[in-house]
Each structure stands twice: as structure tokens, then as C-alpha cells.
């Protein structure tokens, strides 16, 4: 008798109906999660005259995309978002990998205090520090500049990512690092040449998440930028009020904002799924 370790889907029903119901359930789930995005893509492909009746008519056009791409402000916002996301990912990993390593490998008052600190600051709502950050960046002369946008985007992930990195390093046996140190490696050598390479899958997962979070971020960009370095999410939100009736353009911009995130996520999917298994 085969041992069933996973409960059957709806036990008690005949096998064929179980299979059909399972397939229908899967179909329903896929529909629920994919439909809004598919509808957005469909809307973006409709000509201006057909946009209000997306479900009817067979004309499709790429003219909305062409119009969006000829708008300098939107293209600029795309480049800004891509640049900030990439830089924020690099720097935030540099900072949090070492911080997570410290939390995982050492005991004593310093790691305990640091862990308490990052837990508390992880709880603080963004609005409580981004609101005054508006003045801080202004008085430091970095408001509405790349620096003024990049540094807060690095700071925001310190707490969560240090915590995740600690979990990843906890899952890696430290004996290799001890062996390296006995063989004459310095602490830094053991960290950079032994621990970091073995945590590379987790670090890749974090890189994907960090890039997506920064690309999708809204509140920081809303408060910390004026006209010089707009981010794509803010430009889109302004669309809703300024071009409230031009849904084809809005959909085209939104679809374009999805594309880089999709590529990054598809490329990084296996890392994220493996990385989440902590």
C-alpha cells in the first residue's frame, strides 16, 4: 500500500471529478492573479478611440507606447528609477551582508544591541522618518538629487535585509571559516573569501528583492523628489490626476514599468524561491 503523506484534494469524491475540480481550482487561481495584469496589457494595446470598450473591437496598436516613449519626462523617470534601483541594490548589499554576518557569527552585548536596534527601526513607519527627511535633505543640500534619493533608499533596507542575511548565515556552517583562519586567513579574509561565496545564492535572492523593492517604491520618491529626479512610480501617480481620462497612455506607462521588474524577477525567480527556503 502506498503511504500517502500529502492529504488528497477533496477526499471522498471519485478520482476523475477530483482531478477536474483540482484543474478548475488551478485555473481560477491563475486567472485571479494574472487577470488584472492581462487587462492592463490589453488596454495599453487599444487605440485611443477603443480604450473605453476594451472588451469589444479588434483594433490593436502600439501608438500609446510610441507616445509615451516620446515624452521626455517619462523616459527620464525610467532611467532615474533604473539607475537608483541598481545603485541602491549594490550599496545596500555591501552594507547589509556584513551587518548580517556580524549578527549571525558573534554573541555578546554589541550584536544584541544591534539586533534590538534594527528590530525597533524596522517597526518605525516610513512616514515617521521620511516626513522630516524632507527637511534634512534640504538643509544638507541634497534634496531632489541622486544622492538625496539613493542614500535613504539604502538606509530603508538595512534593518530588514540585515535580519534576513543573519538568517542565511545562520544556515551556513561556520567551520569552514574557522578552518580558513587556522590556515592563516585573517577575519576579513574568512568573511570575504569563505563566508560570502557560500552565501552567494542568498545574496542573489536579496539582490533581486532589493531591486524590485526600490523600483516599486513610492513614498520616498514622492516626498524626496521635485522635478529634477522624478521616479517612474511618482510620474505614474501624477498621471492618475493629470491625465485621468487617457487610460491607454496610463496603461502603456504602467506596462512599461512592469517589464524591467518582470525580467529581473524571471531571471531571479530560482534564487528567490531557493532563498526564501530558510
Amino acid at each position: 500500500m502506498p503511504i500517502v503523506t500529502r492529504p488528497d484534494f477533496l477526499p471522498g469524491l471519485p478520482k476523475w471529478s477530483r482531478k477536474t475540480l483540482f484543474a478548475l481550482a488551478l485555473l481560477g487561481i491563475c486567472f485571479a492573479f494574472a487577470f488584472p495584469v492581462l487587462w492592463l496589457i490589453l488596454t495599453s494595446l487599444r487605440p485611443e478611440s477603443g480604450v473605453y470598450y476594451v472588451h469589444r473591437g479588434t483594433e490593436f496598436t502600439l501608438s500609446s507606447f510610441a507616445e509615451v516613449l516620446s515624452d521626455e519626462r517619462i523616459v527620464g523617470a525610467f532611467l532615474n528609477s533604473a539607475l537608483i534601483s541598481t545603485l541602491a541594490t549594490v550599496f545596500s548589499l555591501l552594507v547589509t551582508v556584513s551587518s548580517g554576518y556580524m549578527l549571525s557569527r558573534f554573541t555578546g552585548p554589541a550584536p544584541r544591541i544591534w539586533f534590538g536596534t534594527i528590530y525597533v527601526f524596522r517597526c518605525v513607519p516610513y512616514i515617521s522618518w521620511v516626513l522630516p527627511l524632507y527637511f534634512v535633505t534640504q538643509s544638507w543640500g541634497i534634496y531632489d538629487t541622486y544622492t538625496g534619493l539613493l542614500l535613504p533608499h539604502i538606509a530603508v533596507h538595512i534593518c530588514f535585509f540585515s535580519w534576513l542575511m543573519k538568517g542565511f548565515f545562520d544556515g551556513i556552517d561556520p567551520s569552514m571559516e574557522y578552518a580558513a583562519m587556522i590556515d592563516g586567513c585573517t577575519r576579513w579574509g574568512a568573511f570575504i573569501r569563505v563566508a560570502v561565496p557560500s552565501a552567494l545564492p542568498a545574496i542573489s535572492a536579496l539582490a533581486v528583492l532589493c531591486w524590485l523593492f526600490t523600483w516599486n517604491e513610492f513614498l520616498f520618491a514622492l516626498i524626496l523628489t521635485g522635478n529634477r529626479v522624478p521616479m517612474i512610480t511618482v510620474v505614474m501617480a501624477q498621471f492618475v490626476t493629470e491625465m485621468g481620462l487617457r487610460w491607454n497612455l496610463m496603461a502603456a506607462t504602467a506596462v512599461m514599468a512592469l517589464v524591467p521588474a518582470f525580467l529581473i524577477a524571471l531571471f531571479g525567480q530560482k534564487y528567490v524561491i531557493r532563498g526564501l527556503r530558510i
Binding site: L26, V51, L258, L276
Partner: protein, 290 residues
């Protein structure tokens, strides 16, 4: 002054600690300072007025009877909704079947969608004149609703958008948790002929509890500060009936141009979530040790 090991330990966290200090601690201190002053953006007198702003926020009926209940209701329902949906999906997907990879990829879709984009999508789908939902409703003879300009339907749509965005997180984390559970108890239960419900209730659920609790804590704290989907979907309207705490602080600081009052609201919200966060942390600690 420090030994070699202490120097290493401190250097490892130095960059992170410096950034945290400059971009979180310093602003919070400045915000706390502003919350005690008459600090209107158009006329920053910056005179000390004590707890006046706090009193104004706490006695503001909009804050007490709309914003706070909305925030808590949103937090509880969004976490509960995403947890239940995520758990059901994880249980359903926790078996081999054809097309598993495809379903998994589709489930990842909401993770890639920016909340602002999700809000725009949902706004279009629920548009009162041309949205597909009303088109379908009218096609089957029902009446279309102005979804986003009625308080509770607007609130429900915000909630739905949030659950759509976060269910996949729960699914992935819980699925990973399910797959790392030991097989033996389930085999024993199968040999004993235990019913599916009892297996779930007395085996799966207790063994999965640590993962569930961690997911819930992380998500609850994030749900409390939700800003972008509400801002894009309703802007807090109709009236101010769907405002959450982050919006309240933002509106006071940047639309009413009263930084002092906005900062006071932000500090009050921060304190509330800090208390919740510490309580939840204790809970996780107890469950992890039990």
C-alpha cells in the same frame, strides 16, 4: 582601546549603523522636535508650543473615529485575508502536478507589480463608467456601482488590492515551510486513517506555526504603514473616509502645510506600532521557544 575581534565586529556594522543614524535616527529626532513647535510650511515660526499638536491630533474626530479604526481594520483584515488565502494556496500546491512551474510563475506576478501600478490597474477595472466589472455586471442585468466613491466598497477594494499583492508572499513562504516539514508524522497519520481535516488541524497547523507567526508579524507591521495603494486608489476619499494613518500624517504635513501637526501624527503612529511590534516580538519568541 578595543581588541582585534571587537574592532572587526564594530567595523562590520559601521557603515550600516552610520546610514541608519543619518537617515533614520536624525530625521526622527528632527521630526520629534518639529512636533513640539508651531511649524507651518508657509510660515515656520518654530516657536515651542509643547504638546498642543499632540492634543490636536488625539482630539481630532477624523483621527480618532476614522483614521485609527480604518488603520487597525485594514491591518487585521489584510493580514488575515492574505494568510488564509496564502495558506489555502500553499496546501493546494503542495503536491506534484503537471504545470506546477507555470502556476508558480503566475503566482509570482503580484510580487513584481509595483503597488502604484496595481492600484492603477484596479482603478481601471473598477472604473464606474468603463470598468470591466461594471460592464460585466450590467451585461448580466445587475446595476453597476460607483465603487471608489462609496466608503465601504472603496475600503473593500483597497483591501482586495492589498490581499492580491501579498497573498503570493504568504503562499511562497508557507509552501517552503510545508515542504520542509518531516514526513513521518504524516505517514503515521495516514496509516491510522486520520481524516484530512484532523491532519491539518493537529499536524500541519501546529508544525507550521513558527513560519505563520513570522509571516504575520512582518506583514502586520508593513500593513500598518500602507500608503501607496490608498493614495493612488482613492486618495483617502470619498471625503476622508478611507484615510489610513500614513495618509493622515502626509496630508497634514504636505497638503495642509502644517509640518508640526503632521510630525505629531507620525510620532503617535510610530509609538503605536512600536508597542504592537514589541508585543508581537515577545509572542514570536514564546512560540519559537515552546
Amino acid at each position: 582601546m578595543f581588541g582585534e575581534q571587537q574592532r572587526f565586529v564594530l567595523l562590520l556594522i559601521a557603515p550600516a549603523a552610520l546610514l541608519l543614524l543619518l537617515f533614520q535616527v536624525v530625521p526622527i529626532v528632527i521630526g520629534a522636535n518639529a512636533s513640539f513647535r508651531d511649524w507651518a510650511l508657509y510660515n515656520p515660526k518654530k516657536t515651542w508650543i509643547g504638546f498642543d499638536h499632540y492634543a490636536a491630533v488625539i482630539s481630532d474626530p477624523a483621527f480618532l473615529y476614522v483614521v485609527l479604526p480604518n488603520t487597525f481594520l485594514f491591518m487585521v483584515l489584510s493580514v488575515a485575508g492574505a494568510l488564509v488565502a496564502g495558506l489555502m494556496l500553499a496546501l493546494l500546491l503542495n503536491r506534484p502536478f503537471r504545470g506546477q512551474k507555470l502556476v508558480q510563475t503566475i503566482l509570482l506576478v503580484p510580487l513584481m507589480v509595483a503597488p502604484v501600478v496595481a492600484a492603477i490597474m484596479i482603478r481601471w477595472i473598477f472604473n464606474d463608467q468603463f470598468g470591466i466589472v461594471n460592464v460585466v455586471l450590467e451585461a448580466i442585468g445587475l446595476e453597476g456601482q460607483p465603487w471608489l466613491v462609496q466608503r465601504w466598497s472603496a475600503f473593500g477594494i483597497i483591501l482586495l488590492t492589498d490581499i492580491w499583492l501579498w497573498t503570493p508572499w504568504f503562499t511562497l513562504l508557507l509552501l517552503a515551510g510545508l515542504q520542509s516539514l518531516p514526513k513521518e508524522p504524516f505517514e503515521a497519520a495516514a496509516i491510522d486513517g486520520t481524516t484530512t481535516w484532523r491532519v491539518f488541524r493537529f499536524l500541519t497547523l501546529p508544525m507550521l506555526r513558527p513560519v505563520i507567526v513570522v509571516c504575520v508579524v512582518i506583514r502586520a507591521i508593513d500593513a500598518f504603514r500602507t500608503f501607496d495603494i490608498v493614495w493612488t486608489l482613492t486618495g483617502g476619499g470619498p471625503g476622508r473616509s478611507t484615510e489610513l494613518f500614513s495618509l493622515y500624517a502626509y496630508v497634514h504635513a504636505f497638503l495642509n502645510l502644517d509640518l508640526g501637526r503632521g510630525s505629531a501624527a507620525a510620532i503617535i503612529g510610530g509609538l503605536i506600532i512600536l508597542v504592537i511590534g514589541v508585543v508581537l516580538y515577545r509572542l514570536v519568541d514564546r512560540i519559537a521557544k515552546a
